[in-house]
Amino acid sequence: MSAAPSVLDGPPEVVGGADHEPRWLADVRQRGRAAFRELGLPTTRHEDWKYTDVSPIAELPLAETAGADVARDRLRPFHLESALELVFVNGKWREDLSTLRPLPNGVHAKSLAVAVAEAPSALESELGSVAALEGHAFTALNTASFADGAVVVLDDGAVVPGAIHLLFVSVTGGGAPIASHPRVLILAGPESRAAIVETHLGFDGDTYFTNAVTEIRLEEGATVEHYRLQVETPEAFHVARVVARQGARSKLLSSSVSLGAKLARIDVETTLAAEDAECVLDGLYLAAGRQHVDHHTAIDHRQPRCRSRELYKGILDGRASGVFNGKVWIRLDAQQSDAHQVNRNLLLSDDAEVDTKPELEILADDVRCSHGATVGQLDEDAVYYLRSRGIGERSARDLLVYGFANEVVNRIRVEPLRVRLEEMLWNRFRDDADPEEAR
């Protein structure tokens, strides 16, 4: 009897469809495969993985292909009013489930596999140019294994009205776990603007593994909003890495909302590679039961006058555990950098825990740099304040938890997404009230 394939086996030498892939892509995959073989899965002895044990991922008895599909109706609650919506099921693009609309001139958004088939050399030297493999086993695994994903290209000055929604669905129908490795590439040309929303979800307590990588390159003056909403099943494993490289005066707004999965690990990294670039990295993680959620962020100030802002908030209940690690480097040349990091955590039970660690390395001398981390319970003064206005104690506490989370959600600029998240928070923390009232 042969054992089921494991993530540890890595991808087979010839991946599905590889025979008609261009040579350069085969080379990219080969480099990913080699890096993964060399690195193996990280263990808790690895500093960056100290609090997150991914060994259960290796133990998943993976099926080669999923034994189930998703019915169109089940996706209805997750559609987002958007300029374009690409739906992926178990890692592959599904034209039949997607909503394609004509995009403005200079905006290109499509399935990565389709893009490669249509113009085999267009993405050569682009794919993998932002997300380095070194030290990143899951990125290596994704690079070697991805079946599909999305590519968004914005020409000079192109502007996308509304958001582009990338919906990644995993479904096994209760069968053997599957692994998918969605790959997203966003190339924002000079002075272009776009908002991209990634949603990752599953159904019915299915067990599966999502290993997503998103690369974003922002040219001079480009503005990219990147939102990711992780609502995987409570049995799912979700690993993701968002890596950006920013040109002069570019702006990146990243917001990572992590609500689902048994184990979630999300890395968000950006390099402020030219002067006057700016990034805002926001995050919200809610975990209960025995969920584990780990966010690692890294901001590399390399050139003068860049600005970074970070607000990560977590609410942990039950026996859940959370991790926040925020690295900020300010290099020797990065004078007049302005960096500000905040991580706040709310523990709603005695058994919930969080490990928070800012890591600042500052080599330049003329900088403004601050960070703060808190772990605590609800502010009793605030509870009293609300009660003194006639609001009952239970409602006061619920409202404060909602408000704590909503502070991050309020900063989301894509309205349909913000409204959906407000409703989700409302249902989670205030199931007796009307979300309409909160606006």
């Binding site: 009793e380 605030a382 003194s388 006639g390 408000g403 909503n406 502070e407």
Partner: protein
């Protein structure tokens, strides 16, 4: 004929931790009255205000408080508010992520529910709010923001008065609402209090300075020193205090004399 008593405080003692802060406060407030409680820093003025509102770290160790005939101290803070007691905080709390409008409507509807009234819908509420905002001279943008978040000191105090105006309490207690305010904001506070000046309401103004009392004329002025009301009088007492300060009350033997007189 004397008006109905709204609040009756008898021999109130309260401690925080080991420290006794209120040491036998007596106070009777009737409908339509405005009372000023004045006193030096640390005399127990704010403690009295918060004990009436129901703050937890304070422990009542003696005495009683009847509010419209009911045992006020037996009620949790929310029930006191629902029964019509309102405390304007000296240091209003910031609540990120919760809009001022939503917060205030939740509060109003909690009170209305207690009174057996239907909840006020969003449209009617906004109409009411707009009305009340006019006289506190508050910017629409502030109302839509999170509760008190990033508000200046003056804006926070205006927001307290706005809440008071919307919730229309039977008994309003202002805890040093006037401290640190400019003249315009002071006028707003005074006009908020004067709006409540009729036969159904009563107001207790806790203050360190006489200044606010230029704009609202109290029926009674009480001097609180070391946890006791050492002297009560009419509005003239406030002026006298402004002139002479609290020094004469601060030594216990003097305080005893003052009580006897």
């Amino acid at each position: 004929m004397a008006r109905d008593v709204i609040l009756e405080v008898r021999g109130l003692h309260a401690t925080v931790g080991e420290k006794e802060i209120l040491r036998g406060v007596d106070l009777v407030v009737r409908e339509g009255e405005i009372h000023a409680i004045m006193g030096p820093n640390g005399s127990g003025k704010s403690t009295l205000a918060h004990v009436l509102a129901g703050r937890e770290p304070y422990t009542v160790t003696g005495g009683e408080v009847r509010y419209r005939g009911k045992d006020l101290l037996a009620m949790p803070p929310e029930d006191r508010a629902r029964e019509g007691v309102f405390l304007a905080f000296q240091y209003p709390v910031e609540i990120p992520g919760v809009s001022n409008t939503y917060f205030l409507r939740s509060a109003l509807n909690a009170i209305r529910k207690h009174q057996g009234l239907d909840p006020m819908d969003a449209m009617d509420f906004l109409k009411l709010l707009k009305d009340k905002m006019k006289f506190v001279d508050m910017d629409q943008a502030l109302v839509n923001r999170s509760v008190n978040e990033g508000f200046s000191g003056g804006e926070k105090k205006r927001n307290e008065i706005l809440q008071m105006a919307v919730l229309d309490p039977t008994l309003a207690i202002l805890d040093e609402t006037d401290s640190g305010l400019d003249i315009d904001a002071l006028r707003v506070v005074a006009s908020g209090v004067n709006q409540l000046r009729d036969e159904e309401h009563a107001v207790i103004v806790v203050t360190h300075y006489q200044r606010l009392l230029n704009y609202l004329v109290p029926d009674s002025v009480h001097v609180l020193v070391e946890g006791r009301i050492v002297r009560s009088g009419g509005k003239g007492l406030a002026l006298e205090l402004e002139e002479k300060g609290y020094a004469e009350f601060e030594r216990p033997e003097r305080a005893a004399e003052a009580r006897a007189s």
